[in-house]
Amino acid sequence: MNWTWFHRLGSPKWFFEQSSKWLPWLAWASIGLLVTGVVWGLAFAPPDYLQGNSYRIIFIHVPSAFLAQACYVTMAIAGAVGLIWKMKLADMAAKCCAPIGASFTILALLTGAIWGKPTWGTWWEWDARLTSMLILLFLYLGFIALENAIDNVQTAAKACAVLALVGLVNIPIIKYSVEWWNTLHQPATLKLTEKPSMAPEMLIPLLVCIAGFYCFFLVVFLYRLRNEILWRERRTQWVRLWMKRFQ
């Protein structure tokens, strides 16, 4: 098989030029979806028969928990691609994912705590889902710390990729923790393989919110990645030419 297309995708210059075309679309899509989803969810969706209005935090909580895990998987995949095909862009992508993923994890933990207080009567419980999310946060922090500790950019990327791949074992534990252990956290609200248990009036705004979060992640990710590309390629001709336009 011919892999040249794959390597062209990994060229920082090509990616930088292409991503400037994608960014405005993604930015508008994320604003549109997030405003629609949040307003719909917070103001128009019906209150829950059991939890009243407090359930509405799921419009923030569920998407951020989704992204917290998706971000880690993205980071690990990018790390693996960087290790196997030695693509600079993949190394940069893994590095840029980590702080975003850590932020989403913190957001998921915080919104979970805020929702937990009125519903379960406690800010924090040592429940399987909560604890495994906290471990995920530690994994992100370990990744960032290792990245900062190693001076050589390429060595740092390789070491971090190995760490990310090792930490991947935590993702199925988080995912299935609510099914394996019968604890406080309720079972998953959304499943790909089954019919959702939610009413469509609540489900559709939630899906819109999730789509909006994904777009938002892509926008932030692309900004970070483009920044990283400019920094690492700062000695190349094309970056110098590009920077001249702003002087």
């Binding site: 994994l139 290792l146 060595t155 190995v162 760490l163 090792v166 074992v169 935590n170």
Partner: protein, 225 residues
Amino acid sequence: MGLLSAFQLMVKRDLLLAFRRRAEIINPLIFFLLVATLFPLGITPERKVLALIAPGVIWVAALLAVMLSLDQLFKHDYDDGSLNLLVLSPVPLFWLVLAKVLVHWLVTGALLLLLVPILSLMLHLPEAAWWPMLASLLLGTPLLSLIGAIGAALTVGLKKGGVLLSLLVLPLNIPVLIFGSGAVIAATQALPYAAQLLWLAVLLVLGITLAPFAIAAGLRISVSE
């Protein structure tokens, strides 16, 4: 050289080196006893409370003691250059690494097991939980060595790797701690504990098969620096 004889040589060499540096073997053991002693002093010497917290205390102390010894796992070989030779040797690196981790477990985890009866007695662990305690540590401490070696391999080239090493390894050790102390806690309450021990066994099989590759990859990265 055959794989088996390479493995034996590596084990012999590392055991010999370990016994030449006896302080490095004894320090984690003293640390293990010390940490466990702090809990009765810090919380309460009351028998009932101690029996309740004993499984977790012994497990956490064991985890920290293994953690303490990890920093040195590849350090000496890295400093005197023998790690470079190991990486270049025709014997697969993951195989040699497995031998090194085995020796690390023998001189830390396995020795800790000898102290566990004393601590169980001092912390008033119910007698029904003694065997589960030993079994869970027997299955769990090799895992702590295997997981820790991944972190040690990634940080061996760094000057101040110690704290970073804990930051990388402790989150990965949490599942081992949960299942390990979970088995003992279940035993103290006269509940079945086979499930937790089987989970530990599953993790151990996974660790023995996969971790050496991650350790070898980490060492290659650190050496190429």
